[in-house]
């Protein structure tokens, strides 16, 4: 047990014992591998047009078939994985960073800082997020960076509320009073004492957030204002497929399945983390 952090091995063991969470984790690992080493899963070029072989059904040469420009669907889904997952991670990273700062400041300092920041959260929550994203994207060029940023900037409010609530309860714990008595300043108390104790719920929020961000990106791409072709993302492969869905089902099915399985994987893992981190469920 020596050298394990607060919820270390014990936590990992409980998480792995949860079969669904472990399956979710395996799916996520698999898609990480796909994003990191696409060449391992498909030898085709994702953007190579082949007019002779358009709309071919799955076969030995093209395991998931080809699209209306003769591009290999497997190669596009495999390379799209990196784009879709990156959008998920960067967007959630931005949301967590903002949510953490806002939540820590509001919860720790209270008073007018809390009032102002939480009204800001309420205001942001008044707008239906998706329409907010739509209207912002309408003014910006729909580059992948803009999409990540906008999804992140509209997704931090839940994290802020969560972190604020955790901070409010942690700052009343005796170890914070002890740190004060030792002469620690507010910055040290926030970063060494409060922040590390909010990480478990943040991890849950982040995992669920990645699933949400991947879905949002797919939806934006599906509407044609997300990641722009020819760069493949799961959302825009799906869009390209919808025009030919009557006679080329493989064009829509496989990117759709990729989205479904990944989102499910993140949700299962997130819920598994939540259960494993909850001391009331200990010993199950």
């Amino acid at each position: 047990m020596n050298g394990t952090p607060g919820i270390g091995w014990d936590f990992a063991r409980r998480l792995l014992r949860n079969r669904l969470a472990a399956a979710g984790g395996a799916v996520i690992l698999f898609f990480f591998l796909v994003s990191a080493l696409p060449g391992l899963f498909s030898t085709h070029e994702p953007n190579r047009i082949d007019i002779v072989n358009i709309l071919r059904p799955p076969s030995g040469a093209h395991p998931l078939g080809t699209d209306d420009l003769g591009r290999d669907v497997l190669a596009r889904v495999v390379h799209g994985a990196r784009i879709s997952l990156s959008v998920g991670f960067v967007a959630v990273g931005i949301a967590i960073a903002i949510g953490l700062i806002v939540g820590l400041l509001a919860g720790f300092y209270g008073g007018w800082a809390d009032a102002v920041l939480m009204r800001l959260v309420d205001m942001m929550l008044c707008f239906p997020t998706f329409f907010l994203i739509l209207s912002v994207i309408a003014f910006l060029e729909p580059s992948i960076w803009n999409i990540m940023t906008v999804i992140g900037l509209t997704g931090w409010m839940g994290v802020a509320r969560l972190v604020r609530a955790e901070t409010l309860s942690i700052k009343e714990r005796d170890f914070v009073a002890a740190a004060r008595a030792q002469g620690a300043g507010s910055a040290r108390i926030i970063f060494r004492h409060v922040l590390p104790n909010t990480l478990a719920p943040i991890l849950v929020a982040a995992t669920l957030g990645v699933a949400g961000a991947i879905l949002t990106e797919s939806a934006l791409s599906f509407l044609g204002i997300g990641v722009q072709p020819p760069t493949p993302s799961w959302g825009n492969i799906l869009t390209a497929g919808k025009d030919n869905i009557e006679y080329a089902w493989w064009l829509s099915l496989f990117p759709g399945l990729a989205i479904l399985v990944t989102v499910l994987g993140y949700n299962l893992l997130g819920e598994g983390i939540r259960d494993a981190a909850d001391p009331r469920l200990k010993g199950r």
Partner: protein, 329 residues
């Protein structure tokens, strides 16, 4: 001398509180527009001499923890003065307060919430050294190890996390943290209440040994009279935010003056030396939101008369060194 009102020692005391008040806002109920406040500490004066132990005893909710935290400025008083080692610290702020805090430390009741679960024990114990620039890195770990061994923990304890220890061991870690900066005063807020009886004695002995070794004063809070008698040089008895009686421990336990003290002692057989018939404390403690007028204790007192409902008795001298807040002693 007899009849004089209690005044805390100003010279030579390590800690003195002069007429300290602290209230907390109460969450208003939906229909109520009143601005209610809990009167947690309601005009308390006391003195802790250097190197000695003042035992603070009282029933649950009477304001002991609030008083303990006021004493080392973890809470700010509404009114009154706090003097530490000859300096007024009531309104001290910033760097001056941070430096003064090295001299006054606290041991908490709850061995679980008092240690940060995400920090290694050596970092918990050495945090004061780090923030005051006294030690860091390898030196900090070595000093922490020596200190942990001194409080009776294994030498490798520093590299572990708090959840790997039992309640008693965690309390030892909390004690090590409190003495790391060689303070002149340690406030111990029910340091053994959460522990098994067998472990309690070990921790009390450790605290006594450390007091002899380091010469620090204790403000020792407990609701357990046996513990208070075991550790205290002087005792202060608290009820509903006010002190009822204070005096040297031996005399107070031998011959309690205040009817509240007498009731408390008679409830613990074989504790008071005086042959005492059992006095039953009737009724519940009144709410500190609206304490009874006059003497706080009159609603439960076996000696209460008309005057007790109207006039609040002051803590006054009854015999040399002995004070009680009662009209009839």
């Amino acid at each position: 001398m007899t009849g004089g009102i209690y005044r805390p020692e100003e010279d030579g005391a390590i800690l003195s509180l002069v007429n300290v008040y602290k209230t907390f806002p109460v969450r208003k109920s939906f229909f109520s527009t009143e601005n209610l406040r809990v009167r947690a500490v309601d005009g308390v004066s006391l003195t802790v001499p250097p190197g000695k132990t003042l035992g603070l005893v009282g029933e649950s909710g009477c304001g002991k923890t609030t008083l303990a935290r006021l004493a080392i400025r973890l809470l700010d008083p509404d009114a009154g003065a706090i003097r530490f080692d000859g300096k007024e610290i009531t309104r001290m702020e910033g760097e001056a307060l941070r430096v003064t805090r090295r001299q006054m430390q606290i041991v908490f009741q709850d061995p679980y919430s008092s240690l940060n679960p995400r920090m290694k024990v050596s970092d918990i114990v050495g945090e004061g050294w780090l923030v005051h620039g006294l030690a860091r890195g390898k030196e900090l770990r070595e000093r922490a190890e020596r200190l942990l061994v001194r409080v009776g923990l294994p030498a490798d304890a520093g590299g572990k996390y708090p959840h790997e220890f039992s309640g008693g061991q965690r309390q030892r870690i909390g004690i090590a943290r409190a003495i790391a900066l060689s303070p002149k005063l340690v406030v111990a807020d029910e340091p053994v209440s959460a522990l098994d009886v067998s472990v309690q004695a070990q921790i009390l002995n450790l605290l006594r040994d450390l007091q002899e070794e380091y010469g620090m004063a204790y403000l020792f809070v407990s609701h357990d009279l046996r513990v208070i008698r075991h550790v205290s040089d002087d005792v202060a008895v608290m009820y509903l935010g006010k002190l009822m009686e204070t005096g040297p421990a031996a005399e107070l336990f031998h011959e309690p003056l205040h009817p509240y003290t007498r009731s408390l002692l008679s409830a613990v057989p074989m504790l008071g030396d005086a042959p005492s018939e059992r006095i039953v404390l009737s009724g519940e403690i009144p709410s500190p939101i609206s304490p009874p007028p006059g003497c706080r204790f009159h609603t439960r007192c076996f000696m209460a008369e008309k005057v007790c409902e109207e006039v609040c008795p002051l803590l006054r001298s009854i015999a040399p060194g002995r004070y009680a807040a009662c009209h009839f002693v």
